[in-house]
């Protein structure tokens, strides 16, 4: 102990600055640098959270202003236009309605329902990428061959949405190859979204157009 005290007294002038500078270095590496990193992370977190809060506020505002009846009827109409599954009743209804409007008669129709399991389940006959379609073959008769073309036009202004891919007519009898669109959706995936926007004017105009086609 006496020895240490003697060394301390002898080398005090060198020891104290060395200790102070060592402590300064220690503070730089163990306090300042980690704090700088932490501050950078916090700033990023603040930026992300602030953005998230703004998104949630606008979503809440959109939901609060939404009418109960409107939302239900809009959903019903959009699902009628593009069903979540192959709806044979809707398809038949569209074909009959188009035939009536075009002064023609629906003789018969057949459809390719698709595979039940395995590879056959993959249906990708739709003309639009990512949207499958069920193929329907319809035979229609009309007094005037041009009415068969009108049938084709009328059908494409009906719900569910359809695309006439091929027309083969011989005098008053026509065979139509039609694709009726459908698309499944994952409700749990959709519900996880935080961003909810009100329907735009473009969306509302489209809904009006679909209402006109809901015959």
């Amino acid at each position: 102990m006496q020895e240490l005290k003697r060394y301390y007294v002898k080398y005090k002038k060198q020891l104290i600055p060395t200790v102070l500078l060592s402590l300064a270095l220690f503070i730089i590496f163990r306090v300042i640098l980690p704090q700088v990193s932490s501050i950078s992370e916090s700033n990023q977190a603040i930026s992300d959270k602030a953005r998230s809060v703004e998104t949630l506020k606008s979503s809440l505002s959109a939901l609060a202003s939404l009418g109960e009846t409107d939302s239900a009827s809009n959903l019903e109409l959009s699902l009628k236009a593009l069903p979540a599954s192959k709806d044979i009743a809707l398809i038949y209804s569209a074909l009959s309605s188009a035939a009536t409007s075009s002064q023609s008669e629906l003789r018969d129709f057949s459809l390719k329902v698709g595979g039940v399991y395995g590879r056959a389940v993959k249906v990708s006959s739709g003309g639009v990428k990512g949207v499958p379609a069920i193929d329907v073959l319809a035979r229609v008769s009309a007094a005037n061959p041009s009415n068969l073309i009108v049938f084709s036009k009328e059908l494409q202004e009906r719900l569910p949405l359809a695309e006439v891919k091929r027309i083969d007519s011989n005098k008053d009898l026509g065979t139509f190859e039609i694709g009726f669109y459908y698309k499944t959706y994952d409700l749990s995936l959709i519900s996880r979204q935080d961003k909810v926007l009100s329907l735009s004017q473009q969306d509302l105009n489209l809904l009006n157009q679909l209402k006109g086609w809901d015959k």
């Binding site: 600055p17 916090s42 084709s152 494409q156």
Partner: protein, 181 residues
């Protein structure tokens, strides 16, 4: 005794040097220490702010959950409408193409057959009068060919034959969408 030994300046010089080193190291330590304190305080303030925003986020999510049904409806509707828009804009309007071609065909012709897909529209037209065919081939078909909006690439006469009391002309209207192999 030597008279040129002078210890006084050496001792005070060393003392001054050590003094400067001490002051310098103390100053450096002091500045570093203050900076560290300020950074710790600032970091604490930011973390408090993050916590506040997280609470606000949780509160908003809680409020939104009360509108779960409306949220689902709105999201599904928006998703459907997006796809519907894509379908309507990209589906081939075969009926319009056929109707456009038929609009050039005079009423004197009977339409025997129509075969249409996205690449080719074939028409079989019948008439008892050869003069009508002249007018169709000389006037109507060139007018049709000039209509750029239709997107016609080629018009072929596939066949021309007599059938009973009528003459039957088969025309192919090629839109050239098929890629050649």
């Amino acid at each position: 005794m030597k008279s040129d030994i002078n210890l006084v300046p050496t001792t005070s010089k060393v003392k001054r040097t050590y003094g400067r080193i001490f002051v310098f190291s103390a100053a450096v330590f002091g500045v570093i220490f203050v900076i560290a304190l300020l950074l710790i305080a600032y970091s604490f303030i930011l973390k408090t702010r993050v916590k506040g925003l997280e609470q606000q986020e949780a509160l908003l999510k809680g409020n939104i959950s009360q509108y779960a049904i409306q949220k689902e409806r709105l999201l599904v509707t928006a998703e459907r409408l997006g796809m519907i828009r894509k379908i309507i804009s990209t589906r081939k309007k075969l009926d319009l193409k056929v109707a456009s071609i038929l609009s050039f065909v005079p009423n004197e012709f009977g339409i025997e057959a129509i075969n249409a897909d996205k690449d080719v529209i074939s028409l079989k037209l019948a008439s008892p009068s050869l003069r009508e065919f002249d007018a169709l081939i000389e006037e109507k078909i060139p007018s049709l060919a000039k209509d750029k909006a239709l997107g016609l690439k080629k018009i072929n006469i596939a066949s021309f034959a007599e059938k009973g009391n009528n003459y039957v002309l088969s025309l192919d209207f090629d839109f050239g969408t098929k890629t050649k192999k």
